[in-house]
């Protein structure tokens, strides 16, 4: 466990301080939001903005800003603010404090209609331009007649003209700015592009072969999961969590289970904790194998893809035996597991470990040592440490830039405090480092599994739960480390059997911000490779 620091953050005089769910929550009035953000960033050292959770409290709209200081990464500090104006709600932007806020604020704007003054880009993030209403508001009208299904693409006028807002004498004033100059050469990548790993739409401005700017256009797989959660009971939400980032399905589900268990103040039995940890690491291996394979395929190596998928099938077999599902296992429940492990589970996992080690060497021989591949990957798409933190690029992508941000180490959950493992770190921050960190993580995951597989304790696999689970009133936030970075779950409960608000912190959304940041100056052919090395999953960022 990390040592607790006695350094407590001095609250600014305009803030109300409370301690909720292990977090320090500062409530500030809307007009002091920017001052508080600046203070927390510069004086208190909270340089990593984890997430912005937009909220509709009925009488007021507002947001939670979860942040963390990188020198005390286990700590989570929350800034809370609200505005009572429901007609033209506006808050001050903090995108000059944390760069990642620019994307998060667009998301809050899309869902709640809150305008952020000072954010240079106030387009909708996910929904189409002509969408009526703000879906996560409690008074949203979901009548399909308001938003009928279009069979023709609407022209993307918002791609050329970008709205932004300023505050003049307390009044909200809207402006427009041109996105591109007249003679700029724009190429569309996606949404249907074979190397986009899904339906991401990038507008790339080119100067010959060199990228000038990248403008990601999201929402082609926005499924409205967070709104659906508000009408679902807690066990029903579990199956949606898996479908966010389907490659880390188990880990996402784990996060939601942990968050509910924390709220209910129960603990899963030790047997379940061990099995969950093993299954999480198997998921991570499967995800990295696929990420490795598809990244190599983006660079032209079909063999690597077939090798990666071949080894991944072994993990799928283990999942299938125990849980019945391959990709979506639906195995964890609140309070434990859905069923006990298969009698062959331990044997198969033990067989898999030496097999995977052998294959990992083969993977390195196949691709890592290839001078052409290495030559392309080295020194391209460099993400510096400061940028990684400011952009919130967690996970292997951040660790390749030298940012130690592994939740398994800094705030251990499940059985991670009982095992000995290293967090692979690199400092170059280029594509090659990101590639290597993933392969090194497979080795570490095997080490974790090795230490746990012989020690799975006997006993029950699940806590006895009531059929209807009601979380006590309050705000709960839980982070876990999924294969792409920090996955967070924020549950706001009012004591009902359904949550009042659920927010998932996607590790992939900041990664696409990082892509926007690091690609200018690279060749257009490297765009795909850099995207592959960031290894984002589009449904996770769109939710």
């Amino acid at each position: 466990m990390t040592e607790t620091t006695d350094k407590t953050i001095q609250a600014p005089e305009y803030a109300e301080t409370e301690r909720v769910d292990g977090r320090t929550v500062f409530t500030v009035p809307a007009e002091r939001l920017h001052d508080a953000a600046r203070y927390l960033r510069d004086v208190a050292g909270c340089d990593f903005l984890i997430d912005i959770v937009g909220m509709d409290w009925g009488d007021s709209l507002g947001a939670f800003y979860h942040m963390s200081p990188t020198d005390r990464p286990a700590e989570v500090i929350t800034l809370k603010t609200a505005t009572t104006d429901r007609e033209t709600p506006h808050l001050e932007s903090v995108c000059d404090v944390w760069e990642v806020a620019q994307t998060y604020e667009r998301e809050v704007h899309d869902f709640f209609g809150i305008v952020f003054t000072g954010n240079p880009d106030m387009r909708r993030l996910f929904l189409r331009e002509s969408w009526q209403g703000y879906p996560l508001r409690k008074d949203y009208d979901a009548d399909p007649a308001l938003n009928p299904l279009h069979k023709e693409s609407e022209p993307l006028s918002d791609m050329d003209v970008v709205p932004y807002f300023t505050l003049e004498d307390g009044r909200l004033v809207g402006h427009m700015r041109q996105m591109y100059e007249e003679d700029e050469y724009i190429v569309n990548f996606g949404p249907q592009h074979p190397a986009m790993h899904g339906v991401l739409h990038l507008r790339v401005s080119l100067d010959g072969e060199v990228i000038r700017s990248v403008d990601p256009n999201l929402g082609y797989i926005h499924r409205g999961i967070e709104k659906m959660c508000e009408s679902y009971a807690y066990p029903q939400i579990l199956h949606l969590t898996e479908r966010l980032d389907y490659l880390s399905g188990n880990i996402n589900r784990h996060a939601f289970c942990l968050c509910c268990e924390k709220a209910l103040q129960i603990e899963a039995p030790q047997r379940a904790v061990y099995v969950r940890t093993i299954m999480d690491e198997l998921t991570r291996i499967a995800s990295h194998l696929l990420g490795w394979g598809s990244m190599c395929m983006d660079m032209g190596s079909i063999t690597a893809f077939v090798y990666g998928m071949r080894d991944r099938e072994k993990v799928m077999d283990i999942f299938e035996d125990t849980a019945g599902g391959r990709l979506m296992t639906s195995y964890y429940t609140i309070g434990g597991l859905a069923s006990d492990i298969h009698p062959d589970f331990c044997r198969k996992v033990k067989e898999f470990i030496p097999y995977m080690r052998k294959m990992l060497r083969e993977h390195h021989m196949l691709f890592t040592g290839n001078p052409i591949a290495a030559g392309r990957m080295k020194k391209t798409g460099r993400l510096t440490l400061d940028d990684a933190i400011s952009l919130g690029a967690t996970g292997p992508s951040g660790r390749a830039s030298g940012w130690s941000n592994d939740i398994r180490k800094i705030a251990p959950y499940a059985a991670y405090d009982k095992v000995d493992f290293e967090v692979p770190m690199r400092t170059g921050g280029d594509t090659f480092d990101r590639y290597m960190v993933r392969l090194d993580e497979i080795e570490q995951s095997l080490r974790i599994i090795e230490q746990l597989i012989d020690n799975i304790p006997e006993g029950p696999y699940a806590e006895k739960m009531r059929p209807i689970i009601k979380l006590p009133e309050g705000e709960y936030f839980q982070r876990v480390e999924n294969a792409r970075g920090q996955f967070g779950v924020h549950i706001s409960s009012r004591g009902d059997k359904t949550p009042y608000r659920v927010k998932f912190r996607s590790p992939c959304l900041p990664l696409v911000g990082a892509l926007k940041h690091i690609t200018p100056g690279s060749k257009v052919a490297d765009l795909i490779m850099i995207g592959g090395s960031l290894d984002y999953v589009i449904p996770c960022m769109d939710r």
Binding site: L149, K151, Q192, G198, Y220, R310, M316, P539
Partner: protein, 210 residues
Amino acid sequence: MEIKRKTRIRNMRYEDFNDNESLEKYVEELRAGGVNIFVGSINDIINWGRSNSVWPLTFATSCCGIEFMCVGAARADFARFGWEVTRNSPRQADVIFVCGTIVQKMAPVLKRLYDQMAEPKYVMAVGSCAICGGPFRDSYHVVQGVGEIIPVDVYVPGCPPRPDAMLYGMMQLERKIKLQNFFKLPDQPSIPPQSGAEERPDTENKQIQS
């Protein structure tokens, strides 16, 4: 391939032709001489070829896409069925696997991709999202099944379907192709018009008649 000795062409039965005997004798002679020959209709041969080289479009929006990749990888290996040439351009593809959820913003893109494909073209709705919205049926932004946008030939249920299920779906489509008359392909079934959505006159989508 199934060898039809008694070929029936259009409405004429085998017995109605005059020169069956000489043809049969000729075939016997050739076979005796060691030549491999069978008698059938051109349609059967074309369909045999078509059904064994169906080229899918590389298209996936979410989870089912991963299982689609598994079908393409070593274990399930749809190359055995002649399906392995995944095309990146809809112009070259015969079938579109709708793998994953289709949302409101993606629907026009999918429709355009379908329109860009050359006839004859087929659609497989893979997974419960593509069939009916699946787990996202209550969502404000999810299309309740791709059948609302494009006509579907084969539905493969599952969330996501196993690779074996997808292979079974492929074989069903092969069967469907083999039963078609290539020279008289039916018009693509049109989608019933929806309330609230305007229907575009389907000019590009007209069938090329032989």
